[in-house]
Every structure is written in structure tokens, then in C-alpha cells.
């Protein structure tokens, strides 16, 4: 097993190198000229050339790449053209709200996905309802869910707020930057309930896509597993159907579902950009949209790098977790 983890980490490093290369290539070779952009359209050619030399854009590509990686490793993602602050600082500030939103959405997606999967696999007569629900949800783009959610729960019913993280209120700056947790730490219930209310709609919209993907895979896997011989053996022991499904079916069906869940992190990361835009959630997504709109290239590169690393690392962790959970895989890969 140690061998497997070592190899998985090695391949993780490989992927990270390729990711950095890809980002570097996009940044260097593509036509957008960051120097000209930073100096403005009216800068004289001499000034541009001087600046290029100064910033090292005339060095050989290998040197530039080495410098790029060196900077990234030291946490230097250069300066945002739009906010004029170091990208690292911006990211650190906007990452917390996004982490709160994406984390809640991921949990919600897992819960919803498992529920939908089990329901549609075992629901008997109501299973086709579950299938239709999943089919519908799988066909709805995130912004459609968000628009419908806002129209229904904010406009019509008035139950939930539709933008921002909080109502107008004074709050202390908390240790984590995650309002749901900070408010609890400070024992401020008004703060907490406001944070939760603001979180529900965006988290749900963000969770729908991954939840359906998880549900579909789980449904397929469960139906496959429940056809297997060892489930028949379990039934022949006179176990309750619930025990058979949960203990002998679900556990073995979770493997492919978990891999799928890992891949869904990618979907979550793009979804978060859309959701934050619609709900004016002050996180990385909104920062990304603004960066794209104003061609703030260093910021885009920084975001892609950070989110990319998160995605790659999460998938590696899912792989390793799976091997630890499944004795057969353990035997095969150790």
C-alpha cells in the first residue's frame, strides 16, 4: 500500500508539473501582451521594450519557466492589473467565502447524490419519479437552476435572500473567515442564521449538477452490485433487505461513486464561478468573472493554478482513500 501511495504522489507531482507548464504556455505564448496591458495602450514602444527587458520577458523560455515556477512555489503570483494588489493576497481574501460555499455544496451534493442514487435504484414504484428528477436536474444548466431558485424562493415566496453572504449587520472578524463557523464561535445567532440563509440557495444551485452525476453513477453501480452472487448469499442468510442493501450492496457500489465524486470537483469549480456571479457572492468566482471581463491576466492565471492544484490534489486523495477502503484494490495495487 505504501508503494501505491508513493506512486500516486509521484504521478500527482507529474500532473502538477504539466499543469504549471500548461499555464505557463498559455501565459507566455498566447497573444495577449501583459506588458502592454499593464502600461496602457498609449505607452511608447521604447517604454514597452524597456519594461519587457526589466520584467524578463526577453529571456529564454526555459529561464522564464524556471522563474515562473520559482515564483509560484514562493507564493508570488505577480500583481493583479485590476486591483493593483498581489494576486496571492486577493486569492487569500476571496478563497474563504468560496471555500465555505463550495464545501457546503460538496457535502450537499454527496448527501443528495447518495439519496437520489439509492432512491432511484431501490425506490420500487417511485423509482421512475427519482429517475425523472435526476434527468431534469441533469439537463438544467447551473444558471437556470439559479434563476428559477431566485424567482421562486426570493421573488415569489420571499423565504431566502438572493445575493451576498449576509444581511446588513456588524460582525467581528472571525478566525476562519467562514461565517457559519465564525458566528458560532462568537455565539452570535443572528449572524449565524443570516449566514446560513444566504448560503442555502447558492449552495443548492451549485450542488445540483454534481449530485445528479453522483446519483446516476450510484444507481448504476447499485443495480449492478445487487445482481451479484454475494448479495444472493446475503439474502440467503435471512438478513433484512435494508441490511442487505446497505451492508452488502452500498458499500461495494461506493467505489465507482467515489471516483465520480472526485471528478465532480471540477464541475463544482466551474459552477462556482457561475453561481457567485448570479448571487453576487464575494468569492473567487466573482473575482474570476471580473478578471476575465477586464482581461486581468495575472489574476486568471493565479486562479487557474490554485483551483487546478486543488482539483488535482483532491482527486489524488480520493484515489488513495479508495485503495485504503477496498481490500481487493489494496491487494492488487500494493
Amino acid at each position: 500500500m505504501a508503494t501505491f501511495i508513493l506512486r500516486r504522489v509521484a504521478s500527482l507531482v507529474g500532473v502538477l508539473i504539466v499543469l504549471s507548464l500548461a499555464v505557463f504556455v498559455i501565459q507566455t505564448v498566447l497573444p495577449a501582451d501583459p506588458v502592454r496591458a499593464s502600461l496602457g495602450a498609449n505607452a511608447s514602444p521604447e517604454l514597452v521594450e524597456q519594461k519587457r527587458e526589466e520584467l524578463g520577458y526577453n529571456d529564454p523560455l526555459t529561464v522564464q519557466y524556471a522563474r515562473f515556477v520559482g515564483n509560484v512555489v514562493q507564493g508570488d503570483l505577480s500583481t493583479s492589473l485590476r486591483t493593483k494588489r498581489p494576486v496571492t493576497d486577493d486569492l487569500a481574501r476571496f478563497a474563504r467565502p468560496t471555500f465555505e460555499l463550495a464545501g457546503c455544496a460538496a457535502l450537499l451534493a454527496l448527501v443528495l447524490g447518495l439519496g437520489l442514487g439509492v432512491w432511484s435504484a431501490l425506490g420500487g414504484r417511485t423509482a421512475s419519479v427519482a429517475r425523472l428528477v435526476m434527468l431534469g436536474a441533469a439537463s438544467a444548466p447551473t444558471f437556470f437552476v439559479a434563476i428559477v431558485g431566485i424567482l421562486l424562493f426570493y421573488r415569489r415566496l420571499g423565504w431566502l435572500p438572493a445575493s451576498g453572504r449576509l444581511d446588513r449587520m456588524t460582525i467581528q472578524t472571525g478566525p476562519t473567515g467562514l461565517y457559519t463557523i465564525d458566528s458560532l464561535l462568537h455565539g452570535n445567532w443572528a449572524w449565524f442564521s443570516s449566514a446560513v440563509k444566504h448560503l442555502i440557495l447558492p449552495a443548492f444551485c451549485l450542488a445540483v449538477g454534481p449530485a445528479v452525476a453522483i446519483g446516476r453513477v450510484l444507481r448504476g453501480a447499485l443495480l449492478d452490485v445487487l445482481r451479484l452472487d454475494h448479495v444472493r448469499t446475503a439474502r440467503s442468510k435471512g438478513l433484512r433487505e435494508r441490511t442487505v442493501v446497505l451492508r452488502h450492496g452500498l458499500r461495494n457500489a461506493l467505489q465507482p461513486t467515489l471516483s465520480m465524486a472526485g471528478l465532480q470537483v471540477g464541475l463544482l469549480l466551474t459552477g462556482v464561478v457561475v453561481v457567485e456571479l448570479v448571487f453576487a457572492w464575494p468569492g473567487l468566482g466573482l473575482y474570476t468573472t471580473q478578471a476575465i471581463q477586464q482581461a486581468d491576466f495575472p489574476a486568471v492565471i493565479g486562479i487557474v493554478l490554485v483551483m487546478g492544484v486543488a482539483y488535482v490534489v483532491i482527486n489524488a486523495l480520493v484515489d488513495i482513500g479508495q485503495v485504503i477502503a477496498d481490500p481487493r484494490l489494496r491487494a492488487k495495487k500494493a
Binding site: T233, G238, A325
Partner: protein
């Protein structure tokens, strides 16, 4: 012929038919104390995509406490469905509809509540299925699986010891994939004989009835015999009844008290094992017995049972067996005959008569057409085959295959960090000659290297050392695959396969179609089968298609990998007959690789026995089967079940050791029943003459 039952019955045919009509469901004969399971007039319909399958059509069966009942039938007879019904485990996707009663321990498994059924399953029933690996949960420790029914860990450990699992304590913490096939099946059996019992921690309760569905089919011959005997011992120790569902009359004969024969969803004969085996009264039982390949060298009836079972979606109105029965009378077609005195036949064979082994039914097929094919035997002259025959006879012809000291090892764990290179020595120093037109059988258990040998013989694998020589001038040897279905391209029809092969050997375009059809007809496939995709064919038809395709290349040698292991007895007999005919007619030599000793005896002039990568004995078939010299060969022969009740007495314990790593001494040491010497432990024995045989054993004089 004195036994024509129809003649005997002619005097009272009206009575017999009248009985059939009025007495549709007679109570079975009482079997002593109240039965543990009682099936009455059971009908089971299953819904398939292309219609309703009438799997069981009125079955009555009682199982007395402590009794072993063998339920015998071919595939599709409904035998597994009966087992599943007793367990209340019919496949739900097939939306089964049943009527009749299936009472186990006072609860009707068809109409009882789920709670009642589960109680019966926990307390009174145990189940063993065919494939032990698939039947155990791969992600759960064995200890947890063994105690799920309600047995305590103490009892679980005791059960493991009882079924002969060594180091029971350690096994409880292991996962199924860590055990060998034989051990897994033992664990399954241990699990089957646990039951929910009293409150005491070590309350030792066993179920009243164990249902074993083909429990030995997936296992090696020597392990198979051990498992069969294990059932026998357990029922004595725990007094539980066993319903043994099997296609093999031999397995049934080994331990069954009673045998029930199922055909097309109805019981056709039930009776004490000895009686049923010695003097079957239903024509189907008799045909089944006649079709069985035996070790005694008597050539079984080539086609004791022409035709095929009726389509379960449209079962016949009368006796299901009528259209294949040689004694059929008009009355048979009107209504299904009831089970009377243990036989469901209006005109049962007389008791004690079993003399009619040689009688043939009217030939159903045309007389075989003699043809020749491929590059070497390309011209349509019968003389070509005769010439080959002649060449074989005088022994001067070049052998079809010579293996000269071939070895093959496989690297395991290649290039892993921190692990030494391990070698699996699949084949070591094997020499073998198949004479032109001759037939050699290569016998061994799984993992003995016979498949690797076969792949080297056909050129699919290069040996590490040694040489493989084929007859010059002929096409390369062709393989008849074990899994015939998988060796056919799924999206091509049978004809396309043969035509493509003819194209490869350069048959002109205009002739291919005609040649292919002739070839297919020769192996017994009609135009309909020729245009069918492999999936639509039966097992026997697939095997024939593969044989036809192999012959299209015009090889001098056919290498058959387990040619009949996937087929029912009656189909197997037909395929073996076909191979014999082809050898005779076309002069094509056969190398048959099989674990089935009876098939080896039937087809092989010479037989070689492999164990752990080496040939440990070879010789003429008759000599080897009648006077085996090597203790392994002796043990293997003793492990083959015959229809002689209670004869089974295996001498081989355990399972073959792992072929991984360097081998020192005789590979058979760990299982040898003889007094093993120091020399056996240290020196690898070589083949030495032993009478007309050659055997590799230090202890032979």
C-alpha cells in the same frame, strides 16, 4: 430385445391414460418423519424479454430430515429455480409468478411474510452456491460474514475447523480473495451450516436443510471429491438434510440417498439413488446415464439423446420428453404423465433392465458427408483422407506436433519497487509428440500448465527454451477454444467466420461460400445456424462453429482446450463423437487438453498427466487408466465420481501448491499419500519407463 415397455403396456394403455387424466397431482410417497421441506404442485413462471419462461411446471418433492436428495438435470431443466424457490430467492428482475406450496419448517416460502421467510432462512436453511469467489462479499472479513446469520464467533471458528479450513482463527480476519478456491468453498459451506440459535454464546445450532447449487462445478477434480465427501460428513455430524442440485450424476451418486431427475420443469423420476442409477425407469434418466462419459473405457453411446429440450417458453402439452423419446406413444402427447411410483412416464422401463446400451434410435441426421478442406487437403477427393489414415497406420509420417523440452516462466511483480522478482514456472521441460492423425490427451488440474503448453503448441506463445515443431507443409495447428462463444467475433455470423478463414488460406472467392456451407453442414450446423450471430447459438452449436472454423484452415492438428467442459452430458457426448469422426475422416490429429479424465479417455490414444508444470506420467490411454503408476494419477482417478453409489474415496488431500518460485524436489511431495523420502524432497524426479507408461516418481520400482 425384450424390454419394449410399450409392448408390456399395450395390454392396459387405456388405464394408464385414464390415470394420467384423473390423478393429476398424486401425493408423493411418505418418507418417514415429517419432512423438513415439502414442495407441492409448484409452478414457476419467469418473465424474460422474449416471453414467459415456464421454468417449473408442477413439481412435488419432499425432503426428509437428514436426507441427501440430489436434484439432477441439464441446464435449463429448472433445477436451480427449484433451489432458489426453496430459499425464497427467485430473481426479482424476472418478476416470478408462482403457485403451489413450498413449505420449509412450517412456513410457505411463497406466501409467508418476509419476516417469517427470513426467520426460516436464518434458522432452518443454509445455502451453498456454485462460484465461491463470487458468492462471498469481497469487501467484508470472513469472520463477519460467518456470523451474520446469528452464530457466535466461537461457533464460526468451530465451523471453519469442521470443514477443514486450517488456521481458522486467522481466516476469520481475512478477505475472500486471500483464500484458494477450495478453501473458499469450504468457507461457504461453513457459513451454510451456521444458524441463528439460542442465547448462549456457543449455542451450536445447524440448519435443518442445506441447499447446495452446483457446489463442486467450479472446482478441480481432486478438490471436488473432497467437497462432496465433506457434505456427506457434515450431514452425519449435524443431521442436516441436503438438497444437492447438480448436472453430474456422478456427484449425485457419490452421496445422495435419493435422486430426483428434472426435465423441462417437471420431475421425471424420483427414487433411492441405488435404484435410479442401477435401473432407471424413465427413458430420459436412462439416456442421461448412457450419455455419461465413464473411465472404464467403454465407448459411451455417441448420441444417446438426439434433439434438444423443449423451448421453456412453449412447453409441450404432453410429456416434455416425448419428442426425443424412442418409446413415444400417441398417449404421451396428450397430457403430462403424473409422477407415479417415482416415475413420470406412462410406459416406464421395466425394473432391473439396463441391457439396452447399444440400441440406437433411428438416425436423425443424414449420413455424414465426407469432405476435405483447406490448403493441404484442398481437393474434394476422399483419397486424401485415406492417405492420411494410411500414413498414420504405418507410423512413417512426420508427427503433427513435437514439443521438445519446452519451458515457460512468467515474471510476476515486474519492476515494482522494493520487491524481488518472482517467477511463475508455468511449464518446465515438457516433451510431447502427437503423431500424424494421432490423438493425445493432456490432463491436469487448474494451474498445472496445460493451457500454457497448449498455447505454445499452437504458436500463440513462444517458449523460453525448447522447440516446437509442426508437420511441414500443413497449415499451423488450430485451436478449438475452451470458451467457444468468446472465441467467435460477436458481431460476425458463423458463415462469415468460416468464409474469412477460407479467404486467409487463399481459397478463390467463387468457391468460398460453397465450401463454407459444406464444412458447416459437416459439423452439423444448418443454414439457419450459419447465418446466426454467436450469441444466438446454443453451447453445442458454438463448439461446432469453432471446429468448422478451425478446419477451414486445413490444419494437420486440432488442439482442443477443454472441448466439453461447458456442455451438458448429452451435448458433450455428441461433440466428442464429432471430433472422433473428423479425426477418422480427415486424418487430422488431436491434442486434447482437459481436466475431464473421462473425456481424455474417450478421445486420447495416449494420455499425459501434468502436475505443476511438468508431465508426471504418460502412456497409452488404456494402460494409464487401468494401471496408473504415479500416485497423483492414482489419486486423480480415484477422485472421479462414478455412478456406483458410495464408491468415491479420494486419496488426494489439499490443493496443488503455488507454482511461483524455484522448485526443489518432487512437486507432489505436499500431497503424496506414499511414504515420502528425503530424495523426494530434494531431487526433482524425471520420467522413467514404468511398464508401458513413463512416470516421474522416485518411489516407483
Amino acid at each position: 430385445m425384450t424390454d419394449n415397455p410399450a409392448a408390456g403396456a399395450d395390454t392396459i394403455p387405456g388405464d394408464a391414460v385414464a390415470v394420467a387424466l384423473t390423478d393429476a397431482a398424486p401425493p408423493p410417497a411418505p418418507t418417514g418423519p415429517s419432512p423438513v421441506a415439502s414442495v407441492r404442485d409448484l409452478h414457476v413462471d419467469l418473465h424474460a424479454r422474449d416471453g414467459v419462461v415456464h421454468a417449473l411446471r408442477g413439481v412435488d418433492l419432499d425432503i426428509a430430515p437428514g436426507e441427501v436428495v440430489a436434484l439432477v438435470g441439464e441446464s435449463g431443466s429448472g433445477k436451480s429455480i427449484l433451489g432458489a424457490t426453496l430459499l425464497g430467492l427467485l430473481p426479482r428482475t424476472a418478476r416470478p409468478s408462482c403457485h403451489g406450496t413450498v413449505v420449509v419448517d412450517g412456513v410457505d416460502m411463497l406466501t409467508g411474510t418476509h419476516g417469517e421467510q427470513r426467520r426460516v432462512l436464518r434458522r432452518s436453511l443454509g445455502a451453498v452456491f456454485q462460484d465461491p469467489l463470487q458468492s462471498l462479499n469481497p469487501t467484508m472479513r470472513l469472520g463477519r460474514q460467518l456470523t451474520e446469520k446469528g452464530a457466535s464467533p466461537t461457533v464460526a471458528r468451530r465451523r471453519l475447523q469442521e470443514v477443514g479450513v486450517p488456521e481458522a482463527e486467522r481466516r476469520l480476519r481475512q478477505f475472500p480473495h486471500e483464500l484458494s478456491g477450495g478453501l473458499r468453498q469450504r468457507v461457504m459451506i461453513a457459513m451454510a451450516i451456521t444458524a441463528e440459535g439460542g442465547d448462549a454464546d456457543d449455542a451450536d445450532v445447524a440448519p435443518q436443510l442445506v441447499i447446495a447449487d452446483e457446489p463442486t462445478t467450479a472446482l478441480d477434480v481432486s478438490v471436488q471429491a473432497q467437497i462432496v465427501l465433506l457434505f456427506d460428513r457434515l450431514r452425519r455430524e449435524h443431521g442436516c438434510a441436503v438438497l444437492l442440485v447438480t448436472h453430474d450424476l456422478g456427484v449425485a451418486a457419490s452421496i445422495a440417498d435419493r435422486i430426483a431427475v428434472l426435465y423441462a420443469g417437471r420431475l421425471c423420476e424420483v427414487g433411492p439413488a441405488a435404484e435410479v442409477l442401477a435401473s432407471p425407469r424413465h427413458p430420459y434418466t436412462k439416456a442421461l446415464l448412457d450419455a455419461r462419459l465413464t473411465l472404464d473405457g467403454a465407448r459411451a453411446d455417441a448420441d444417446p439423446l438426439p434433439g434438444s429440450p423443449p423451448d421453456p417458453r412453449h412447453p409441450p402439452q404432453g410429456c416434455g420428453f416425448a419428442d426425443r423419446c424412442r418409446y413415444v406413444q400417441p398417449g404421451c402427447l396428450e397430457a403430462p404423465p403424473p409422477l407415479r411410483d417415482g416415475v413420470a412416464c406412462l410406459f416406464p422401463l421395466a425394473l432391473g433392465d439396463n441391457t439396452d446400451r447399444s440400441a440406437h434410435p433411428a438416425a436423425a441426421e443424414d449420413t455424414p458427408v465426407r469432405i476435405s478442406v483447406g490448403r493441404t487437403l484442398a481437393d474434394h477427393e476422399p483419397g486424401a483422407a485415406d492417405a492420411a489414415d494410411a500414413a498414420t497406420a504405418d507410423g512413417s509420417a512426420e508427427p503433427a506436433l513435437v514439443l521438445e523440452r519446452v519451458s515457460k516462466a512468467f515474471d510476476l511483480r515486474k519492476g515494482r519497487i522494493g520487491s524481488a522478482r518472482l517467477k511463475l514456472n508455468a511449464v518446465v521441460d515438457v516433451s510431447l509428440t502427437v503423431p500424424a492423425g494421432g490423438a493425445v490427451a493432456l490432463v491436469g488440474e487448474s494451474g498445472c500448465g496445460k493451457t500454457t503448453t497448449l498455447r505454445m503448441a499452437t504458436g500463440l506463445l513462444r517458449p523460453d527454451s525448447g522447440s516446437v515443431t509442426w508437420a511441414a507443409g500443413a497449415a499451423r495447428p488450430q485451436l478449438v477454444f475452451q470458451d467457444a462463444g468468446a472465441s467467435l467475433t460477436p458481431w460476425m455470423n458463423v458463415l462469415d467466420h468460416v468464409v474469412e478463414r477460407l479467404r486467409f488460406v487463399g481459397v478463390p472467392k467463387g468457391e468460398r461460400m460453397e465450401r463454407a456451407m459444406a464444412l458447416l453442414q459437416r459439423v452439423g450446423l444448418d443454414g439457419r445456424a450459419a447465418l446466426a450471430k454467436p450469441r444466438a447459438l446454443s453451447g453445442g452449436q458454438r463448439q461446432r462453429a469453432v471446429i468448422a472454423r478451425a478446419l477451414a484452415s486445413g490444419p494437420s492438428l486440432l488442439v482442443c482446450d477443454e472441448p466439453v467442459s461447458a456442455l451438458d452430458a448429452t451435448l458433450a457426448a455428441r461433440v466428442l463423437g464429432l471430433l472422433e469422426e473428423l479425426r477418422e475422416e480427415l486424418g487430422v490429429a488431436l491434442l486434447v487438453v482437459t481436466h475431464d479424465l473421462a473425456a481424455a479417455r474417450r478421445l486420447g490414444d495416449d494420455v499425459a498427466v501434468m502436475y505443476l508444470g511438468r508431465i508426471i506420467e504418460h502412456g497409452p490411454a488404456d494402460e494409464l487408466f487401468e494401471r496408473p503408476r504415479h500416485p497423483y494419477t492414482q489419486g486423480l482417478l480415484a477422485a472421479v465420481p462414478t455412478t456406483e453409489p458410495g464408491r468415491l474415496a479420494p486419496t488426494l488431500a489439499g490443493e496443488p501448491p503455488s507454482p511461483v518460485g524455484e522448485q526443489r524436489g518432487c512437486a507432489f511431495v505436499s500431497r503424496c499419500p506414499l511414504a515420502v523420502t528425503e530424495r523426494c524432497e530434494l531431487e526433482v524426479p524425471v520420467l522413467r519407463p514404468a511398464g508401458p507408461n513413463h512416470a516421474a516418481c522416485h518411489l516407483l520400482r
